[in-house]
């Protein structure tokens, strides 16, 4: 009974979602990283559904076949210790599944952690820093800074340098690819790219206090030509950013979208430590890794 219910409910919701509504954001990728993640997720959903269904079927059969009401009064269940071959299968099948998924997982890890391939141009570097509860985007190449909105060219790799002027935040544009943390004492790197023009939602996904919910930004992907035009436009209309002005922006609160020429990197540079990009192994990164190893060691103690 309960199984039918569970199945029914999940199936109806699933069909309702798949049939009626728009596709789920994460499963509607607009760039190569999100596409890789979406295909991994679909693979997982299919594979995992099989496992759940298999368990459900076995359970249903066992419950139906061996329910007490069907058994004769004097039926005495046998004593069965276990069977080595049955257990080998029970261990072997999960191991095969896990090994396969590990293979996929490792491959995907290296893909999402390196610059997307197949593009001719050099990556566009954008510094994305968060403060309570805003996002600041600096384009050092173009000498432009925006607040709470992000314009990006399509068909060009994007390299986001992330850090925070406050609590840990997480930079997330679901349709371009998964998130990464922005922290105060180091820079993390996130590789993304957009394949088609359009508007997207971006947000901080990591809880960062009172204004967390509204800590979002708009992402607009456009052709390189439109992007260049926008840059020119900014130079015509926007004011230069000053240190004083920037410090005012950092104060806790919410702001609308803003545009400046120049970037805050000149007077308020990003933290020195680099972390997490396979491309540029710095000394700082070595430090980080060794610290992880030590924690590792400690958990080894606990294993004994």
């Amino acid at each position: 009974m309960k199984l039918k219910w569970a199945l029914l409910v999940s199936l109806t919701t699933l069909t309702a979602i798949l049939a009626g509504c728009e596709p789920l954001m994460v499963l509607d990728p607009k760039g190569p990283m999100a596409a890789r993640q979406a295909s991994d997720i679909m693979l997982l959903i299919v594979l995992m559904s099989f496992i759940v269904i298999a368990v459900l079927v076995i359970l249903a059969i066992v419950l139906f076949k061996y329910r007490a009401s069907k058994m004769p009064e004097d039926y005495e269940p046998p004593h069965i210790e276990g069977n080595i071959w049955v257990e080998v299968i029970c261990i072997g099948v999960p191991i095969i599944i896990v090994a396969f998924l590990s293979f996929v997982s490792i491959k995907s890890n290296y893909i999402v952690e390196s610059a997307p391939t197949g593009y001719e141009e050099e990556p566009l570097v954008i510094y994305a820093s968060s403060s309570d509860w805003k996002w600041h985007f600096s384009y050092p190449e173009q000498g432009i800074e925006t607040v709470n909105y992000l314009y990006i060219p399509t068909n060009r790799p994007l390299e986001f340098k992330l850090y925070s002027y406050g609590p840990i935040t997480s930079f997330w544009i679901p349709q371009l690819g998964g998130q990464k943390y922005a922290m105060a004492d180091m820079v993390t790197t996130l590789h993304l790219a957009a394949d088609e023009p359009g508007e997207m939602m971006g947000r901080n996904a990591n809880f960062s206090g009172k204004g967390f919910t509204e800590n979002t930004f708009n992402v607009t992907a456009m052709s390189q030509k439109d992007f260049d035009e926008w840059v020119e436009d900014v130079y015509k209309t926007a004011d230069p950013i000053t240190e004083e002005e920037f410090n005012k922006l950092l104060e806790p609160g919410h702001l609308g979208q803003m545009t400046f020429t120049g970037t805050h990197l000149d007077f308020s540079p990003a933290p020195e430590h680099n972390h997490g990009s396979d491309g540029d192994e710095t000394e700082a990164e070595h430090d980080e890794h060794s610290s992880h190893d030590e924690t590792n060691e400690e958990s080894d103690h606990s294993g004994h």
Binding site: S291, E294, T295, E297, E298, H301, S302
Partner: protein, 198 residues
């Protein structure tokens, strides 16, 4: 109370055996506690911010005194437990007393050491490094302080009630605790001071 005379006095009752096993498990937890402290110290070692580095504040003399005193105390408490097993109450009390005196000296030198750090500008608030260092040393020092009181209580009880299985059990467990603190100190000496001064 059932006494099992084939065992040493501290193991001679069921409850005594439980106490000793329980204390070993407690020491397991303590190992994790100090392992965590060491881990964080290693992480913070190089993170001195605007404060001093390890090499700038460590002084060899007090550390050597502390090490010598604590190692000796570990030896004397071993003698104390040996005397206890031979049933020589006065010898045991003497060795336990010496142990505690050495512990007191250790603590005194450590307080001097902390004051030195304070004077050279390495306070608890200065940097990640000083916080990590003083928490590690402070936790060990707090253990020693607790041990001094505990040891004193045991001496008083042995004096008053003699070498009962209960007291023998307490004394033995206390000696485990004291040896453990000594082992932790050897790690502190090697991986904090020697490493930091090199």
């Amino acid at each position: 109370m059932k006494l099992d005379h084939t065992q040493p006095l501290e193991y001679s009752t069921d409850q005594n055996q439980l106490n000793i096993l329980g204390f070993w498990i407690f020491l397991g937890a303590e190992i994790m506690l100090f392992a965590t402290l060491f881990t964080s110290y290693f992480i913070f070692e190089g993170r001195t911010g605007s404060g001093p580095t390890p090499a700038e504040i460590f002084e060899i003399t007090p550390v050597l005194i502390e090490t010598f005193v604590l190692l000796t105390s570990s030896f004397t408490i071993g003698l104390g437990v040996h005397a206890m097993r031979l049933g020589r109450k006065n010898a045991m009390l003497t060795f336990f007393g010496i142990t505690l005196l050495l512990g007191l000296v250790f603590l005194g030198v450590e307080i001097y050491e902390f004051m030195h750090y304070y004077h050279v500008g390495a306070t608890y608030q200065t940097s990640g490094f000083t916080a990590g260092l003083l928490t590690l040393l402070g936790t060990h020092g707090a253990h020693v302080t607790l041990g001094l009181f505990w040891g004193l209580f045991i001496i008083l009880q042995v004096k008053k009630r003699g070498l009962t299985p209960e007291n023998a059990n307490k004394s033995f467990i206390f000696s485990l605790y004291w040896h453990f603190l000594d082992v932790v100190w050897i790690f502190i000496f090697s991986f904090v001071y020697l490493k930091g001064m090199m």
